[in-house]
């Protein structure tokens, strides 16, 4: 290995690591606010990339139909839940309508825009919009009524959601893989290092998102409310912060981050309906390494995972997944030794 190969691998690793970092941040975010270990995070990645790929062909992506289906289920659940609670048909219908409104609007736009062959950026924005709307719906349908369950039950639910979303991905996208066009065809040679436009966009998007998240949590009331929920749910509730609204908002953000990651990773690799899982899990390894609690920790760990993966695929390409996923054991060992005592279960 010489310097140029090493620098290429490093750059490659950092680019992928940036995407893992986004997913790791989303995982930490969801866990701290809702105590859900969100395994299906990766499905949003695949959904995002594949939605854009189908838009490229001028057809209506399957995610739109699935979105309508999911919104229908969520609206029905809302309707029956409210009805059982208040016995007031008007309130119940209103709640169901609220559930349906955004998905209907977004789907409508998507169905209208699909055959128009808009420029890539518009299609990308639409794809993100479609997938982002999944967030609150998934929360409503799968998690909301289990709010007070233990993290363990929520984790098993996550696995169920992951199964369902992967299978539905197969139904709506088929088994075929897609590779998206690059957003920016730049090739920049700095000495021996070649910088691609895609890498620059990925880096910029990651940094921008991290800054935005930081601003949101530090400066906005809603963000502070989420932090309050993360620290103490009961306390936040007593202060009038709805933990359900917090959950829906968090899942919206997670879905947005997932879709964005899908767009970023789409041009560098062929995405299949089930590719999201492994991509998401690598973000996940980073989040776990950071104890599911620290954002900067997850960022650093994710970049590290990306770099390890890049060098691993150069030296022992068959074993790169083995290396990445075995890496978590020593990390956990260190955490275990540092924590020193057994935590009381929640």
């Amino acid at each position: 290995m010489d310097f140029s190969i090493a620098s290429i691998l490093l750059l490659d690793g950092l680019t992928n690591g940036a995407v893992y970092a986004l997913l790791g941040l989303a995982t930490v975010l969801v866990f701290t606010v809702t105590r859900v270990i969100f395994i299906p995070q990766g499905e949003f990645v695949a959904y995002g990339a594949l939605t854009l790929a189908i838009f490229q062909t001028g057809r209506v992506p399957g995610t739109v139909w699935l979105l309508l289906l999911l919104a229908g289920v969520a609206a029905l659940m809302e309707l029956s839940g409210r009805w059982q609670h208040h016995r007031n048909a008007l309130l119940a219908l209103k709640a169901a309508g609220r559930m349906l409104f955004v998905p209907l609007v977004v789907s409508g736009i998507a169905i209208w825009a699909a055959p128009q062959q808009f420029p890539l950026a518009v299609q990308a924005a639409l794809s993100v919009a479609v997938v982002t709307v999944y967030g609150p719906l998934v929360y409503r349908v799968a998690y909301q009524s289990l709010e007070s369950a233990t993290p363990l039950v929520l984790l098993i639910v996550s696995v169920g959601v992951h199964f369902a979303m992967t299978g539905l991905g197969l139904v709506f996208f088929g088994a075929e893989g897609f590779r998206n066009p690059a957003f920016w065809d730049l090739r920049l040679n700095i000495g021996p290092v070649m910088l691609s436009g895609q890498a620059i966009i990925t880096a910029l998007a990651t940094i921008a998102l991290i800054v935005l998240l930081w601003l949101y949590f530090e400066r906005s009331l809603r963000g502070k409310a989420l932090r309050a929920t993360a620290v103490n749910r009961t306390g936040a509730r007593l202060m009038g912060i709805s933990s359900q609204a917090s959950g829906q908002l968090t899942f919206t953000m997670a879905a947005f981050i997932g879709a964005l990651s899908g767009l970023l990773i789409g041009p560098t690799t062929t995405v299949f309906y089930d590719s999201g899982f492994l991509i998401g899990l690598k973000g996940f390894v980073a989040a776990v390494a950071a104890g599911l609690a620290s954002y900067p920790g997850a960022l650093v760990a994710a970049l590290f995972v990306g770099v390890i993966e890049a060098f691993g695929s150069f030296w022992a390409s068959a074993f790169k997944e083995v290396i990445v996923f075995t890496l978590i054991l020593p990390v956990l060992l260190v955490r275990s030794l540092r924590s020193g005592h057994s935590d009381e279960d929640h």
Partner: protein, 589 residues
């Protein structure tokens, strides 16, 4: 309850030979073979997840270790499958031990996460190693045989698998109904109570994780020789999740739920794999959609699984009392009357800048009831936690019967003969009162997991139950023996905790607000019990708010306010003390 489980075993034992001779189509025998092997793995999850409250997505990986070990060894070294079984189990135990030791000290969700990563990396390892045939796996594994008799297929294999399964189920039922089993059942409720009973929660967590992995390993050994080929796809994360799914659907808390779940999922999967692709028009594993949605629905609407629908209609029968003639447990030597039992010397607890306990000193002598009182927030509970080892003291020393115990954890302090109750009752609601109280005898028994599974622990079990019954009768709860603990009212629950503490044969009893939530009559009964204990030479430290009770029964009072010692002395003197009155009622200065 016990009789019924034995009945289940009997039914199964009768059904095995019957099915083997019935003219069932071969297809169903094959299905039953798979169900038996799956059930074996799921049985491990019942122990781990349902009983112990831990979760693993990596059971399939352990099945894989068992399968690949025997496949590789029989193909490459010609070793007998009957030997490779144990090699596989050894390898499985080693890797489970490693993963368990690393993750089980941390909170509950790290184990499932680690098993996900573990399952994935093992899958890719199997799929990429040349020696293991990469993704094609290993072919041509020999069938199991005894001498020249092939028992690796069809009906003989069915008998082998189900007899093994039956043996494992019996062993598990025996385990759960034993000293070790009660300790395992206490894991789910958090470690504090279990540790206070002298139970090493970490050790038991690792033990059940390894045991569950071993069940999976045996299933893998069977699978390899039944299919006569192994490849990574049967041992991936998806399969690991499916095992957990079987457990959850069947009823993760019940041994029989494992078989119900495995059976249902196996049959369902088989049907769906044919039906769904036909429905969709293309091939693909669409059954995961149904499984995923079903998993969420089951957790939402039937969290105890399908078996609970059957189980809740089965009558519960009280345990047969067979311990009247058991030998008494040996007792530790007690301090002489009046000897110094506990000496707290300048104990201090600081949380950052806040001094919760400020250099508190007091003593307890044998046969004395000492009351620790003070207004809310005075630091009584923190002091209590310092003595019992729940919190490490910032400075100062606690000496118990001449030996320093500060720095020891609550488990080791409990083993030295200091027993406690909790301010908020901590018990296992679905065990009987007798079983809950028997938990207190943990440190006085020695029989472990293996002897429990083999039923070699009967003599000791009888001794433990005899002691539990004796202590329950001592505090007047003799008629509640077989009641479910969760059904008790607050008063009896608190008395049950005292009986449990007494089972540890303590020289010092620490009671944290035993009268809270009790009615007047129950309080009088409690006072009677405590006086009786004192007469028998017991030393007691009592944290209590009920002044009537405290003044009635205590010999000595320690009054705390804002973390500091206000005063101490006999009750009559404390009652007259202006400082104490000021602390409780406020005064004009």
């Amino acid at each position: 309850m016990k009789n019924l489980q034995n009945m289940g075993l009997l039914v199964l034992a009768l059904a095995i030979p019957l099915i083997a001779v019935l003219p069932l189509p071969d297809f169903w025998i094959t299905q039953l073979n798979y169900i038996g092997m799956y059930s074996m793995t799921v049985l491990g999850l019942v122990l781990l997840t349902g009983v112990g409250g831990l979760t693993s997505f990596g059971q399939a990986a352990f099945v894989g270790i068992g399968a690949y070990t025997t496949a590789w060894l029989t193909l490459n070294t010609g070793m007998s499958p009957w030997l490779t079984l144990f090699v596989g189990m050894g390898l499985t135990a080693g890797s489970a031990l490693l993963v368990g030791l690393i993750t089980l000290r941390m909170s509950g969700h790290y184990l499932p996460l680690a098993t996900i990563a573990w399952g994935l990396s093992l899958y890719y390892l199997m799929g990429n190693l040349d020696a293991l045939g990469k993704y094609d796996g290993l072919l041509g594994i020999r069938s199991l045989s005894i001498g020249d008799f092939d028992i690796g297929q069809g009906r003989p294999f069915f008998v082998l698998t189900w007899v093994l399964l039956l043996a494992f189920a019996a062993a598990l039922l025996h385990l759960l109904d034993s000293r070790a089993g009660r300790a395992i059942r206490s894991l789910k409720g958090g470690s504090q109570m279990a540790e206070a009973m002298g139970i090493s929660t970490f050790r038991y967590k690792v033990t059940i994780f390894v045991l569950a992995a071993l069940f999976a390993s045996v299933a893998g050994w069977l699978l390899a020789h039944f299919q006569r080929t192994v490849n990574p796809s049967a041992f991936g994360l998806k399969m690991g999740i499916e095992y957990l799914f079987m457990a959850v659907v069947g009823g993760v808390g019940h041994v029989w739920g494992a078989i119900v779940g495995a059976g249902l999922i196996r049959v369902l999967e088989d049907q769906l794999q044919v039906l769904l692709p036909r429905l969709m028009g293309t091939s693909g594993s669409y059954e995961v959609i149904v499984f995923g949605i079903a998993l969420v629905m089951v957790l939402k609407y039937l969290p105890d699984g399908l078996w609970s629908l059957v189980g809740r209609h089965l009558p519960r029968r009280p345990r047969a009392v067979d311990w009247q003639h058991a030998a008494a447990l040996p007792e530790r030597d007690k301090p002489d009357a009046g000897a110094l039992v506990l000496d707290v010397r300048k104990a201090r607890m600081q949380f950052g800048g806040l001094v919760a306990v400020n250099d508190i000193s007091f003593q307890i002598h044998a046969g004395q009831i000492v009351g620790l009182i003070g207004p809310n927030g005075a630091g009584k509970s923190t002091t209590f936690n310092l003595i019992t080892g729940v919190l490490p003291a910032t400075s100062g020393e606690v000496v118990y019967r001449g030996a320093t115990i500060s720095g020891l954890n609550s488990r080791n302090i409990a083993r030295k003969g200091m027993a406690r109750t909790f301010q908020h009752v901590k018990m296992i609601p679905d065990m009987t009162v007798l079983e809950n109280v028997a938990l207190g005898t943990h440190t006085r028994g020695t029989k472990g997991v293996l002897s429990a599974m083999l039923r070699a622990n009967r003599t000791e079990e009888r001794q433990l139950f005899r002691e539990a019954q004796r202590q329950l009768e001592r505090i007047g709860m003799g008629e509640y023996l077989h009641e479910q603990a969760g059904n008790l009212a607050m008063g009896p629950q608190r008395l049950m905790e005292i009986a449990r503490a007494l089972c540890a044969d303590p020289a010092l009893l620490l009671l944290d607000e035993p009268a809270a939530g009790l009615r007047h009559q129950e309080k009088q009964a409690l006072a009677g019990v405590l006086r009786q204990l004192k007469l028998e030479g017991m030393s007691i430290l009592l944290v209590e708010h009920d002044m009537d009770l405290v003044m009635q029964i205590c010999d000595h009072l320690v009054v705390m306010e804002f973390g500091t010692l206000l005063t101490q002395g006999p009750p009559a003197q404390i009652q007259q003390d202006p400082k104490v009155r000021a602390a409780y009622l406020g005064t004009d200065h």
